[in-house]
Structures are given as structure tokens and as C-alpha cells.
């Protein structure tokens, strides 16, 4: 009897203690920020991320098709689609972090997809929706810049432009799904702002000596952390995650974010990055055989490989600034405006510093020239840089007539998909470039081109373009004829 009573008493006491612990956790007041030392854990107060907002970015069906055209999927036509797929409605939603700058009205975010007319909502730290306007993209960093309609809706935050040091502990903030709440509160997906702790592993400096990037390590990082905002122990913003390599996140430092914001705000539009029109590899990363294969003789190739500097060009885009400057595959760019180039990052850095539409002087070594020679190149600018994006090479709709040249991006539809859209097979217009004759004539994304000048698009052949084209299109299951004057190349 005594033993039983004892067991009962111990059990009840245990339960009481556990409950006390739970309630003690729930009602414990927030800890005061620790002195600015380097303890084992980050002592950032959980309130130190008022500068982090949530951005909800949506892609409708047409934008998704446009991305498909520009991806590596080699799209000729759409064979079939889920019946629920809708061109004008959202088919994908991306939830990412946004950094509110210290002016209280500008937001920088790393949108995953290039979207020049993004459908975006901004949610403040308190969960309330903020009205924001998309200003533009900084192509050099990939950051999108937004401006809040109301300047005083976010609390003041601090951004640290000063260098960071290896060993510093940081928190990477970003929105995350609340799966438990989903089960608890209903079928909807719930979102909250979370953070993962990491530590600065490596700081990479630019050729000019400032921090170009740094890496933060944490075994719990995943691709969902890309775009997250990094905050130091004092609650200062130190950067935005722009990539992930294994368990290390690459951080774009605050100083570069600030410059990107300035560039876009000055232009009040997207700012392209400098474009030369080349592909290449750092000489230091090449084997001697690879250099020889580019037309270099053994002695000079060995000397080049021994220097471990320069960028060897492997291909030149036709019509690009590089092509106009007579650069060729096999050439090695050793300097940009007298700055030595050791690796690809150096080359990118100095080109970005020069800016789009600027003139630079390269020092070039060529396989068929005995000495290095200077070469002046006028850079241009592009918002996207991947060669496969050149849709002109993919315009397979007609011979001798390119819809891309008319500023119209299309994707072919097979019969089952076309019937879903209320038409027969044709070309779905996914984008019409503004200020082109097609745009002015009223051709719209979502139209399905059935015939051009009375001929089905599948059989349309033309060698000499006329003064104008008659597009027979289906729009909202209604047949229309749009006459488009030919755009001169």
C-alpha cells in the first residue's frame, strides 16, 4: 500500500513539474540582448527582423509558358495540359523574403524568375498587407526593387555596410510553411517568418578590396533559404542569400544591395548588366591540352598556363559587342582597364563596375599574335544573359517569317490543348513586345493565332514579307482578325 501511494505521489509530482515547465516557457519574458560578444548561440532578439517582409510572387499560365520557352526544355509544342491549368490564373506561387531598406519604403528581394511585370504582394512583419509598386530589376545582382506606397508602415531598421568577419553568428530569416497550423486551423496553407542560425565561414573580397560575397554555413540550410535575409547579432542586416552550395549559403553583402537599389531607383526602371557577348573560362581552370586545342602553340600555351591569369573565350555571340570588336574564341582577356584578371569573378566584377553601355579597354593575348594588344570594346546591356534565351533561334513557326522579329512570342498547341482553349491547333501568343506594330495592332497574350493571311500557321510559308499580315486569332472563344503592319528588322 505504501509503495503504491509513493508511486502515485511521484507520478503526480512529475506531471506537476512538467506542466510548470511548459507554462514557464510560454510566459517567459523575452531575453534582453546580450552584449556584443561572440557567444555560442546568436543572441539576436527575435524582434530584430522588422526589416524582413514576406513577398508573394505569382505566375499565371501565360508567364509559365514564357518561362518554358526560355528554359532548357526545348519546347516545340504543348501536347497536353492538366484540365485545371488556366492561362490567366495563377499556376505557381512563390513565397520569399524581402528586405526593407533603412529608408522605410524600399524593398529588395531576390525573385526566382525573371518577371518584368510581376504580380506581387508584400506582407509586413505584422502580417498585414502593404501596397507596393514594382520599380525594376538590377540585372547585375538579380535583385528586384519595390517601393512601398506608404513610407511609415515599417519600423526603422539598420543595415550594416561594414565588412563582416568569419566566425560571426547570423540568422537567416525567411518565410516558411506552418504545417502544424494547417492541420490545426484547416486546409489552407499557413505561412510565418522563421529563421535558421548559421555562422560565417568565408569572406570573399573583390579585386578592389571590398566584400564581394560571404558564405554562411548551417547543416539545416536548404534551397528554401535562398532569398533569405541575413541578420547579425546586433539585429543589423548584413546581406541576402543569393545561392546555396551544399550546406553553405552565399550572401550578397549589404553594401552591394544598397548600390543595386540606388541604380534602379535612379533609373526608375530595370537596369541591365553589362553585356560583352562571350562565354569563357578562367585560364587557371584549364588544362594545357584545352589551351592547345584553342590554337595556341605549346611554348606560349605553357607560358599562359603558368601565369594562372586571364579569361579564355570559348564562344562569341553573333552581333554582340565582342563580335563587333573582333574578339574570337581562343583569345585570352588578361586585363580590364589595366586591372589584372585572375578568375571569372574578377572579370565579372570589373565589367559590373564599368556598367552597361560603357567603353572598356581589354588587354588581350591571342594565339596568332606574338604580343598582348589593347582592344577597346563598347559594352551593351542585357537583362538576361543565357545564350539559349535567344528565341530567334527557336522560331520554328514559318520559313522566312519570324514572329519573334515582330515582337511576338508564341508556343504551338496540339489539338487537345487547343480544344481546351476553345480553338483548333494554332500558336498561343504568350508575349507581345510593347511598342511593336503587333502590340499597337492589338494582338494580346492569350490569343491563339489560327492562320496568317488566310493560311494555317502550320503551312504558312513566306519569303518576301508583305506590308502587313492578317492574323486570324481566337480570343475568348471569339474569332477576330488583327492586321499587323510588318516590323522592319
Amino acid at each position: 500500500m505504501t509503495v503504491r501511494r509513493l508511486i502515485s505521489i511521484v507520478t503526480l509530482a512529475g506531471a506537476l513539474l512538467c506542466n510548470t515547465a511548459v507554462f514557464a516557457q510560454e510566459v517567459a519574458p523575452p531575453k534582453k540582448p546580450a552584449p556584443p560578444r561572440r557567444p555560442a548561440r546568436v543572441n539576436v532578439d527575435k524582434s530584430t527582423a522588422p526589416q524582413v517582409v514576406t513577398i508573394i510572387h505569382r505566375l499565371n499560365g501565360l508567364k509559365m509558358f514564357r518561362l518554358l520557352l526560355r528554359s532548357e526544355e526545348q519546347v516545340q509544342a504543348i501536347e497536353s495540359l492538366d484540365s485545371a491549368f488556366n492561362l490567366m490564373s495563377d499556376v505557381h506561387t512563390n513565397v520569399i523574403a524581402g528586405l526593407a531598406m533603412d529608408d522605410g519604403e524600399t524593398i529588395a528581394a531576390w525573385l526566382p524568375e525573371a518577371d518584368f511585370e510581376p504580380d506581387i504582394s508584400v506582407i509586413g512583419p505584422d502580417g498585414k498587407r502593404l501596397e507596393a509598386k514594382y520599380i525594376g530589376l538590377d540585372a547585375a545582382t538579380g535583385l528586384s526593387i519595390l517601393k512601398l506606397a506608404d513610407k511609415n508602415v515599417l519600423p526603422a531598421s539598420t543595415i550594416k555596410d561594414q565588412p563582416v568577419s568569419p566566425g560571426e553568428d547570423v540568422l537567416v530569416f525567411g518565410p516558411e510553411p506552418v504545417t502544424k497550423a494547417r492541420a490545426l486551423l484547416g486546409g489552407n496553407l499557413y505561412v510565418r517568418m522563421g529563421a535558421i542560425q548559421g555562422r560565417i565561414k568565408n569572406v570573399m573580397t573583390s579585386p578592389s578590396g571590398e566584400v564581394a560575397k560571404f558564405k554562411v554555413g548551417s547543416p539545416r540550410f536548404s534551397h528554401a533559404n535562398v532569398g533569405g535575409v541575413a541578420v547579425n547579432e546586433a539585429g543589423e542586416t548584413i546581406g541576402i542569400v543569393d545561392g546555396l552550395e551544399g550546406s553553405e549559403a552565399t550572401i550578397l553583402p549589404a553594401a552591394l544591395i544598397r548600390r543595386a537599389v540606388q541604380r534602379v531607383l535612379e533609373q526608375q526602371a530595370s537596369v541591365p548588366r553589362p553585356w560583352l557577348g562571350v562565354k569563357g573560362e578562367a585560364v587557371a581552370a584549364l588544362k594545357l591540352e584545352q589551351i592547345l586545342n584553342r590554337g595556341w602553340e605549346m611554348k606560349r600555351a605553357a607560358a599562359l598556363a603558368g601565369k594562372h591569369r586571364g579569361i579564355m573565350l570559348t564562344s562569341i555571340a553573333p552581333g554582340s559587342p565582342a563580335a563587333r570588336a573582333a574578339l574570337r574564341a581562343g583569345d585570352v582577356i588578361l586585363k580590364v582597364d589595366d586591372k589584372e584578371i585572375e578568375n571569372a569573378d574578377d572579370f565579372t566584377w570589373w565589367l559590373d563596375q564599368a556598367g552597361p553601355s560603357s567603353s572598356v579597354e581589354f588587354t588581350v593575348a591571342r594565339p596568332d599574335r606574338p604580343t598582348e594588344e589593347p582592344l577597346n570594346v563598347k559594352l551593351s546591356g542585357r537583362l538576361d544573359l543565357v545564350f539559349s534565351f535567344d528565341l530567334r533561334n527557336r522560331d520554328i513557326t514559318t520559313n522566312g517569317f519570324s514572329l519573334i522579329d515582330q515582337g511576338v512570342e508564341t508556343i504551338a498547341l496540339r489539338a487537345p490543348v487547343a480544344s481546351q482553349l476553345g480553338t483548333t491547333a494554332g500558336l498561343l501568343v504568350v508575349y507581345v513586345e510593347p511598342q511593336t506594330p503587333a502590340f499597337e495592332a492589338g494582338l494580346q497574350p492569350g490569343d491563339v493565332i489560327q492562320s496568317i493571311d488566310g493560311k494555317p500557321v502550320s503551312t504558312f510559308r513566306l519569303t518576301t514579307p508583305p506590308a502587313s499580315f492578317k492574323f486570324e486569332v481566337i480570343r475568348n472563344k471569339q474569332k477576330l482578325v488583327v492586321t499587323v503592319p510588318t516590323k522592319k528588322k
Binding site: P50, E72, D82, S89, E117, L171, V178, G187, N188, M193
Partner: protein
């Protein structure tokens, strides 16, 4: 028949008062029936003996003592029950306590795990259990219940969803025909500001033709977190080794 008549006569004799005279039929029967005469004599003798005993008066506190005794008996019965069922009750309590300990332990462990996984923003955040109605003179303060008409929205969007009840993600329900409109209210879960994302949850499949007779199916996720590209190499702004 005679026996039945004797029973009737004896019942009448029972009901008769001591000094009450017998009826003529009873007297007539008593003359003829020796058994009933004997019964009558014994009963009369017994009645006289009982009638000769004096009355006994009840004590004044009889009622009080009776009630007290009844109450005492009742307590005794309860104690008896307790002593009978107490071991079972105690075991039940012990089992309940053990269950409580397990449940509390689970809660504690889950809280610790959650705290490790996520450091949530909390103290400065004002958690609104329900979105306050927006004053008419402050149209710029948008809440989920009062979303603004964003100028950067796509032009051909479908009508905004007015039914804001949570939809359950059943496979048979087609969410894609409903706009992924944003926020329909604030809710607090734990200590973090949590908001619902009213969006489709079903991925889409697209069958592509690459122009060389090869068909390929790609699946487009309905939702993603972080800056993750939906499609391979789609609009990369910082491609490697391309300038």
C-alpha cells in the same frame, strides 16, 4: 366448498373489533364448525392479552435521534463503498497521472523541437487575433480582410474570391480555377504572426513535344518557398562563365 366458507368466516373474525358482536351467519357457522370455534376462541384470547398491555410513550428526542442514526448509517455505507472501491480509484488516478506525464512530455519535446527549428519573430509583433475593421478614413491601411486593388496585378485576372472559408486540400477538388488571392485574415499560432496563403495546392503537369518526336512531362509545383526556380535554367541573371 366448506373450506372456502371457513376462510370467509375467519377473515370476518379477523376484521372484527374486540368488543364488536358477531353476525348471525358467523354465530351459526361457529355452532356447526368446531375448527372455526377453536380459531375464534384463540384469537379472542390473544386479543384480550394484547389489549391488556399498557401503552409505551416515545421519548421526546426520538425523531432527532432517529434522523441522526439514519445519517450515521448513511456515512457508514459511504465509507464502506470507499473502502471497497478505493484501490480501483487510486489505480485509475495513477494511470491518469502517467498519461498526463506522457502528454506533457510530448508537448515539451515538440516545443523544444519547434524552437530549434525556427526562431520566430515575436516580441515587437502585434498579434491581432482578428483583423480589425479598417476605418473609412484610412483606406491606405490594408488588411487581409480589405485587400487593396494592386496596380501591378495581371489585367485578365478572374473575379476575386469572395468565399474566404478555408478549403480542404482534397485531391478531388480543383483549386486551380480559384485565384491565388492572398491574405484572408491574421491568425496567431503560438507566438508567431501567421497568415493563411489562399492558393492552389495542386501541381500541374505539362506534356511537351521537343520537335524531334520526344515527349516529356514536366511537373510545375503549385507553391515554392525561397528563391527557387520553377524550371531549369529559366532566366538566370547570373549565369556562370557568360558575360
Amino acid at each position: 366448498m366448506r373450506k372456502n366458507y371457513c376462510e370467509i368466516i375467519r377473515r370476518e373474525l379477523d376484521e372484527r373489533m374486540l368488543d364488536e358482536a358477531c353476525s348471525s351467519s358467523v354465530l351459526e357457522h361457529l355452532r356447526d364448525c368446531a375448527d372455526c370455534r377453536d380459531f375464534h376462541q384463540k384469537q379472542t384470547k390473544l386479543r384480550r392479552m394484547v389489549g391488556g398491555i399498557g401503552t409505551v410513550a416515545a421519548p421526546a428526542d426520538f425523531d432527532f435521534r432517529l434522523r441522526a442514526r439514519l445519517a450515521n448509517e448513511s456515512n457508514s455505507a459511504t465509507f464502506h463503498l470507499q473502502s471497497t472501491y478505493w484501490p480501483f480509484v487510486r489505480r485509475g488516478l495513477a494511470v491518469a497521472a502517467v498519461l498526463l506525464v506522457f502528454a506533457t512530455g510530448i508537448v515539451v519535446v515538440r516545443k523544444i523541437i519547434n524552437r530549434d527549428e525556427t526562431v520566430a519573430i515575436q516580441p515587437r509583433i502585434i498579434i491581432d487575433p482578428a483583423p480589425a475593421p479598417v476605418p473609412a478614413h484610412k483606406p491606405e491601411q490594408f488588411t487581409a480582410a480589405n485587400p487593396p486593388s494592386s496596380p501591378q496585378r495581371i489585367k485578365n485576372e478572374r473575379p476575386l474570391q469572395t468565399n474566404l472559408k478555408p478549403r480542404h486540400p482534397m485531391a478531388a477538388i480543383d483549386f486551380s480555377s480559384q485565384r491565388a488571392e492572398v491574405i484572408n485574415g491574421l491568425e496567431a499560432v503560438g507566438s508567431t504572426t501567421v497568415f493563411p496563403l489562399d492558393t492552389s495546392l495542386q501541381p500541374f503537369k505539362i506534356l511537351l513535344d521537343d520537335g524531334r518526336g520526344n515527349a516529356r512531362t514536366i511537373s510545375v509545383p503549385a507553391i515554392s518557398f525561397g528563391s527557387q526556380r520553377v524550371l531549369r535554367n529559366a532566366n538566370s541573371f547570373a549565369p556562370k562563365d557568360v558575360w
